[in-house]
């Protein structure tokens, strides 16, 4: 080693440079080739996928409460009508009034949606008519009587945060539904919408104003059955047509299906406006009514099933 260093220092400057250059070039070459080859000791392949935006839609009871609070309880057609705001039994000329309809409020909420499809399917064991209305939510309702004319003023906040009020005459009072929502009932859906907030651990009262016109007015939207009057029996005594594709999809080749179990399918597209956070909550009122004469002949209790489904369109 000492000899090499001694010989190296004895060389002239130009010789030193030549020697060092030659050594560096050779070493560089020796390193470069194996390193390049090492980087190339693998092969790669790849595939690209596109992810779908989630259909974040929720169906809940009124005010986005958990679904278990949407109670379609036993319907007693021989019961007495109650005031939809105060809950008192209505009387007319001192006599209690028989109930003619039941109203239930449910909500569809979600985010980043402008149109969604709502589907309803129900059996017909009870001879009930199911009408769907859109509804608006208000925070307070007060009635005032002026010159024997009573009006109800509803006020609340709309989706842009601005105040909204509307006045309903007494004759349309049944369009107002009071709803008491309980504390700690928002476990499934924690969406907050501007103008429709809730405080999770406290109770509050809201009022829903049902639209004047039904979403499925005059049988529109029904996919099977006699669409002009889906609740009528057609010539073969079936509520729903047995020759349509939905019957086949539901029952296949079976023909011994109890006629009132064959479901009626309804579908419609609903447009919504979202708030600044791209959230929305749309309320619906399901109104159940019946033909008194027909119902009078029913002596047995029946059970029906109703299904609701929502799917985001855009």
């Amino acid at each position: 080693m000492k000899n090499i260093i001694k010989k190296f220092s004895e060389l002239t400057l130009s010789k030193k440079i030549q020697l060092i250059t030659a050594l560096v070039l050779t070493t560089g070459l020796l390193i470069a080739i194996p390193v390049y080859a090492w980087f190339n000791r693998q092969k790669k392949a790849a595939e690209m996928f596109k992810v779908e935006y989630p259909n974040s839609l929720y169906i809940n009871a009124a005010h986005r409460e958990d679904k278990c609070y949407l109670k379609l309880d036993g319907i007693n057609i021989n019961g007495y009508a109650k005031d939809s705001i105060t809950g008192e039994i209505l009387t007319e000329n001192g006599e209690k009034v028989k109930v003619t309809k039941y109203q239930y409020v449910f909500s569809v909420s979600g985010s980043s949606t402008s149109v969604f499809t709502l589907q309803m399917a129900h059996t017909n064991n009870n001879l009930f008519k199911y009408t769907l209305y859109e509804a608006d939510n208000y925070a307070s309702c007060s009635g005032s009587t002026v010159n024997d004319v009573t009006n109800y003023t509803l006020s609340g906040e709309n989706i842009n945060g601005a105040a909204k009020t509307t006045t309903i005459p007494e004759v349309n009072k049944d369009r107002i539904i009071k709803y008491e929502h309980k504390a700690n009932t928002h476990n499934e859906n924690q969406l907050q919408v501007i103008g429709d907030n809730y405080v999770k651990d406290s109770q509050s009262t809201v009022y829903y104003l049902r639209d004047a016109t039904a979403v499925n007015a005059a049988g529109s939207g029904y996919q099977n059955g006699d669409t002009s009057n889906p609740f009528s029996q057609n010539s073969t005594n079936y509520y729903a047509q047995t020759t349509d594709t939905y019957y086949e999809k539901t029952y296949g080749d079976n023909t011994n299906v109890e006629i009132h179990s064959v479901p009626l399918y309804w579908q419609g597209n609903i447009s919504v406006n979202t708030d600044n956070n791209k959230n929305f909550c749309k309320y619906f009122v399901l109104e159940i009514t019946w033909d008194d004469d027909e119902q009078a002949t029913q002596t047995e209790k029946e059970t029906d099933m109703i299904y609701f489904a929502v799917k985001r369109v855009s």
């Binding site: 070459l29 194996p34 092969k43 392949a45 790849a46 595939e47 690209m48 996928f49 992810v51």
Partner: protein, 417 residues
Amino acid sequence: MKLKKNNVDTAALTEEERRKMKRAALIKMLIIGIFLGVVIIWGSIAWFTVNRNASSSGMQIKTATLPFDIATKGSSIRNEAMINSENDDYVTGIIGSSHGEYAEGTSETLTAQSGTSGEYFTGDSLCLRFTPVDDPDTNDVNEADDPPDIAPGSSGKLELNVIPKVDTALNVKLSLNIVAFAEVEKKDENDEVIYKMNGDTYALDTKGNKIPETEIIEITDAESFASAVTDKTGNTSAANSAAEYVSAADYLRGHILFFGGAGDTTNAAESSRYYYTDPYTVRDAASQIYFTFNVPANNKGKAVEVPIYWMWTNTFGQVALPDNTSGKRNGYPIVSDSNTTAKGLITTYLTQNKASFFVNSGNDTDDYITAVTASVEDADDFDNTAFTNLSTGYNQADNLIGTHIRYFMIEVNVESA
């Protein structure tokens, strides 16, 4: 450069002798120059050669080549404009430089291991292909008309083949990496979304809505993603939630599971159906799922299929439950209920990857996983609380993925094992 002879007194030489010395010096210079030229040329040739060999026989520098090639088959490339660098619409820069460019490769006719021959595409950095199916009633990701986008419940197969160059059996190591991309809306200085214009008016989509201008950005780490978002889109709210995007990418990597064999989804007994067998659940130091595949002998020049199936399971019950005694499972399990080895691997995977699997992963998660994956005699013995907790954590992670990730790329690295 002067070459001087040592210990020679140049002044004492005659004219003739000086000229001779000069000539000798020149010749020496020339020889060395030629030698240097040869060295440089050999080195350059070795460098520039596209082939994997790097040999220069003159100096006996040799490196070994990989004993196989890779190939893919299928008539189409999914999302071609984004991934195929040879495509006219390809935008450089979406797939970051650390991944390199993927190309269509060269078309060749090869014989498969089974004997049938067909068209394959080979190359060093390939776009995997698929063949569209014509079945409008299914939700097959390979559907020809209007294939569905990927969502929970989607699954597929990577069409990867290995072509051995030798007749002996060989082992290859495959590593699977998932790269996530976000689509971020462009915003101006007033934090308003910039919409696409059609001349002077807004461009509208088929439903009549305005179309926002967007950029596709790879999700790497929070800092790089935030600065890329700010640079390319000016979208400060997206840049500020960079951590959410990184979380979403992490959950995607945890939720997509890989398998080595197809299951049985058409069994007459519906309760016996399952999706896959042989789950790949081990991660290497770089956090990539990897596995070793044995290419059998006597397949030189033939395309040997490497089965790789992927699935983004729809519900947690399908992933973890050992059976359906509890009644909580909807849909088929990812591995057969009777395949206890596979179930065990999945359970281990859940425990090791819980932070990338459940949004609410915490101190109790291990206990919950143990409770849920244990077999129970009766539905009443089932721990519903544990199941609900984990299932919610899984679903919320899925929601996060869907709202933040727009594209993802599955990369396969194939090396000698």
